[in-house]
Symmetry: C2
Subunit: 182 residues, 2 copies
């Protein structure tokens, strides 16, 4: 069955963005090998992206007009956008999901296809973790501490025990960690 994979950059203190959504901290230690790994992941492993409203609006304002390989891959993926306030979506291959996230994801997982990924949006990521809907966490921990910001995890009903699947250390000091629920 298709897996739901959350793939994100995080700080050592567990934030995916600064207090105002800043992601500049990731640039200092973004390794070319990490970029290549992301492109391979989009090329081979996934065909569907889940997005919240904020992440959708950010990405839809940027990727459709770009022609890099990453842009081409992202533009080609199916995008499922969880929002109760957006009316129409301009980005190609995107559709609105206005109902229950658990039901939507259960339906997606029963369909054939590659894996499903969540690559941005603290609120959606928090919500899917809280509901136990993430099958795999692919977290690249960057060597930086923000002290506050938007946490990847928030208001869990209980501690989430994980098992480590693999790690990969990049030259910049960022370390990719793959975890699955224990």
């Amino acid at each position: 069955m298709r897996k739901v994979i959350l793939g994100m950059n995080v700080t050592l203190d567990g934030y995916v963005a600064g207090p105002n959504g800043e992601i500049d901290w990731a640039f200092r230690t973004m390794d070319p090998a990490q970029m290549e790994r992301i492109i391979e992941y989009l090329r081979n492993d996934v065909d569907t992206i889940l997005l919240g409203r904020v992440a959708y609006l950010q990405q839809a304002a940027s990727w459709p007009t770009q022609t890099s390989e990453m842009a081409t891959l992202l533009n080609g993926c199916d995008k499922v956008v969880f929002s109760k306030t957006l009316d129409t979506l301009e980005w190609n291959n995107s559709r609105l999901a206005t109902g229950d996230a658990a039901e939507e994801i259960a339906r997606l997982k029963q369909q054939p296809g590659k894996n499903i990924t969540v690559t941005g949006g603290a609120t959606l990521a928090q919500s899917l973790s809280r509901l136990g809907l993430i099958d795999e966490y692919n977290l690249t921990i960057h060597p930086v501490v923000l002290g506050n910001g938007m946490p990847l995890f928030k208001d869990l009903p209980a501690p989430l025990n994980l098992k480590l699947v693999s790690t990969r250390t990049f030259d910049t000091g960022a370390v990719a960690h793959i975890y699955q629920p224990a």
Copy 2:
């Protein structure tokens, strides 16, 4: 010069303890090899431990009556206890530091000796990081998410950029990461 090394277990979301000081989450994935590494560290690399009030009271109630190698090593180390409310200390080789932490640590670093370590106490750890007094972070990230608790880092004046020195993965899925300020 002696280094100040912060050596602690942390969750994947950056907590050193649960909301009420719980540290049971670390037991599931505490590896015998990690315990051995801690003992070697106490035996070879450090001779002085910095403690806050809460960590002192917890540890002073437990280690002095134990005879394990770890207890013997901890009992033998010099303990410097940062507290404005404690009057007397019962644990052997411990003394009160009531003044400025930065001055106390500067004085300690000018004295000969092995490295100086901080092994517990969220408040002291937060304070020393905030003041830029930590020379090395030795953080073992356990494969668990709490969702809330006592964070290792809090209220930093600015993002803290680090460089990765090394990693070591234990069989339990805990991963030790050594960082220094970049």
